[in-house]
Symmetry: C2
Subunit: 445 residues, 2 copies
């Protein structure tokens, strides 16, 4: 019997587990399979590569295949795709894209870190080559080649979420005309519509032509068909969201959670003993709603893989769940959220009161001061903070971490007001905007 650990996927969800296994099991046999040509890269960095802020794709690679092999002492097989998992035989079927051959690989334990993939709704023409997703460095290479082609003058972005926003910013910075199509009334549907409206306005201020309430219905080469007519585009980028890459797990019969993400327990074990999953392919517990959710974020992937690695190595660790904290930037505007939005809180059954305040990023008399809007979602009765959203000028958004830490601890608005946060005129007003919002919320709930 082998004591082999097989890891499927060469990015964070799989590979961030290796060092935790190695700390406990120096001699364990570890085989890792990656279907692409890169390992441990920052997909989140791709928009900044497209924008030209990051000049070399290699800069986005945190650890190359060679480094994984030497430092992790693993048998890393590149261009090797797991095509089936046979749970009874404890085997993975592997397609070697170099040789075109297929073989079966025994495992004692398995870690599935297959990641996510851009959602591609079944629209006519969506598989045309000018329609791009942004997930792997291969995607980035193809997108960049298309973007820098001299005939690329008009870009259409479908979807106004994080990726849509960041890619729109990237093309704007390259001086290319960008049209963004969003089916909802405002972009950034991970925010409440009132906060999303601030982002829509910021996009327009920064030169993106935003078409809200305008679903895309299909594509022809060189054009995007929408509910409001046909638009010319040399290049289309999908920013509709990321779903879990869980088809392999589903075929193997593993239990799935929301959005077909692989269901895991608190130790990151799937429904099969000794089979683990982590990262964008797995589900998570939302700490506020108490529900299982699918959150595809690098932070979560790294944390889950760390927990999986500790458990695989024979230790004990649990993943405590997520708040859905996220942050992004659109030129001069910063955007962040954590916990539940007002809409989500209602859906989760909370009676929640929203509070929105306008404040400034630093003392109002400082020349670097800019506007920022903070929205808190607060449970009635208990005054517990359920969620926070921030849209504002430079320096605004990282304050979401204060909210995330407070929500993590179950703090009330009272606790938030009491907190001893930092103040100096270049950084904040004497009451941090988060506390200004909490004071306002105290009056309401």
């Amino acid at each position: 019997m082998t004591d082999r650990l097989v890891i499927i996927g060469g990015d964070a969800g799989g590979m961030a587990a290796v060092s935790q296994v190695r700390k406990q099991q120096r001699e364990r046999e570890i085989v890792a399979l990656e279907r692409g040509r890169w390992t441990s890269y920052s997909a989140c960095g791709i928009p900044y590569f497209v924008a030209g802020e990051v000049t070399e794709l290699d800069q986005l690679v945190a650890r190359s295949p060679e480094e994984h092999r030497s430092k992790g002492r693993i048998d890393l097989r590149m261009r090797s795709e797991a095509t089936e998992i046979d749970l009874d035989a404890r085997q993975v079927e592997v397609l070697d894209h170099e040789s075109g051959t297929t073989y079966r690989l025994d495992f004692d334990e398995l870690l599935i870190g297959t990641g996510g993939r851009p959602i591609r709704p079944p629209l006519p023409g969506i598989d045309l080559p000018f329609v791009h997703g942004v997930q792997t460095l291969g995607d980035a290479e193809r997108l960049m080649a298309a973007a820098t082609a001299s005939e690329c003058k008009h870009v259409a972005v479908v979807g106004g979420g994080y990726i849509g926003l960041e890619i729109a910013e990237a093309f704007c910075l390259r001086g290319i005309e960008v049209h963004l199509f969003e089916a909802a009334p405002e972009v950034m549907s991970t925010l409440d519509p009132d906060m999303g409206a601030l982002v829509t306005a910021a996009m327009r201020r920064n030169g993106v032509t935003v078409h809200t309430s305008t679903p895309v219905v299909g594509f022809d080469e060189g054009s995007v068909h929408t509910s409001a007519g046909v638009h010319h585009a040399d290049l289309v980028v999908l920013g509709i969201g990321v779903g879990p890459e869980s088809a392999l797990a589903e075929r193997a019969g593993l239990a799935l959670g929301p959005k077909k993400a692989i269901h895991v327990d608190r130790r990151q074990q799937t429904s099969a003993e000794g089979v683990w999953a982590a990262g964008d392919c797995a589900d998570s517990l939302h700490r506020v709603s108490g529900e299982r959710v699918h959150v595809a974020l690098g932070t979560v992937a790294n944390k889950q893989a760390r927990v999986a690695g500790i458990n695989i190595g024979g230790g004990y660790a649990t993943f405590p769940g997520v708040l859905g904290t996220a942050i992004t930037r659109l030129c001069d505007t910063e955007i962040a959220r954590t916990g539940l939005t007002e809409v989500e809180a209602g859906r989760a059954g909370f009676s929640a009161a929203p509070v929105v305040v306008r404040a400034t990023t630093s003392a109002h008399y400082m020349p670097n001061s800019g506007p920022m809007t903070v929205k808190l979602v607060v449970e009635r009765g208990t005054a517990r903070v359920l969620g926070a959203q921030i849209v504002g000028a430079h320096g605004a958004a990282k304050r979401i971490d204060t909210c995330a830490t407070a929500i993590w601890s179950g703090m009330s608005t009272r606790d938030l007001v009491d907190l001893d946060l930092s103040y100096a005129p270049p950084f904040s007003g004497v009451w941090d905007p988060v506390q200004v919002a909490a004071r306002e919320a105290e009056k309401v709930v």
Copy 2:
């Protein structure tokens, strides 16, 4: 019998209580005494006025005497100094600087918000007119007049704390040669020496000539005498720290705490019934050490005054204590701290382990990425985070609020690692530097 509330001091410690009283007692008679010419101003903003970033002194005034009178409906008496408190007679003796007359004023309740004053050690020549303190807007006016005089080419700053640093930066920005004298081996003694050394280096990098381990022993007109010789200076600024302005309270027989700050209970009441104190003149509970401390900061003053106002108005509120959170900027370098330093933790009887990590403010491949150093002080055994210090490039320091919120909740390094903090390449690495430090600390404790 009167039901008069008398407030001594027209800045945050006193005046921030008014709105809380008014919410509950619309008709209460309130008399406020301010010996100077300004109310509710930002002393923290003075360095930025000296630097020229803030152009008008009035911009630092949050609420003018006229606004206090109309909005707070109070009898505000400017240039009126409380010279004695008679607790038995329930009277304050008031000197009217305009008329030169003295009168006695009955009070039912008294709120002392006399603030702080720059520490002036009894050195020869310290009362010479070219030696300035920076506390009131009057100080700022005098300092600015001296600074813009054509003969002001050399400035000496005595003490390398927050005010010393900020004033040194201000004069640097004006193109004036600045020498800073610090008795300790490093500046910023509110940090541990290893972190202070980073600030000393940053000051030098930004053109300030820093003389460490160089106590000042006295002054002559135009020169500063130090342990290492005599230096020419057209102007001297004291940045040795701020002590409580508590002489009045002491003479009245009120109990005093550390550094002679007025001792208050959790509701901000002094040792005398119906006599309250808030702000830089009062003491506080340090939540980590459990000891009484004197912390002179605008955030604390506003919070304490709010609590005092609620209680005076007949409500119930308590001040939950401080962590000593503070932040400042020195040109390209940001500096912040919260909780206990390694030195303070040792003094408070903790067995604490320090962890120092170097990270970057944003993803290492982003052009806006700069270095940042995080130091965590962690209790052995429990792994509870006792304190944090940050020195780094733009974007580094406000992260101290995450640490402050975590310490407030009694979090361990494990909790800090688990937190769902925000990540996107322009803002952070995938593990926030605070979490990188917490992970490192986990290995140590």
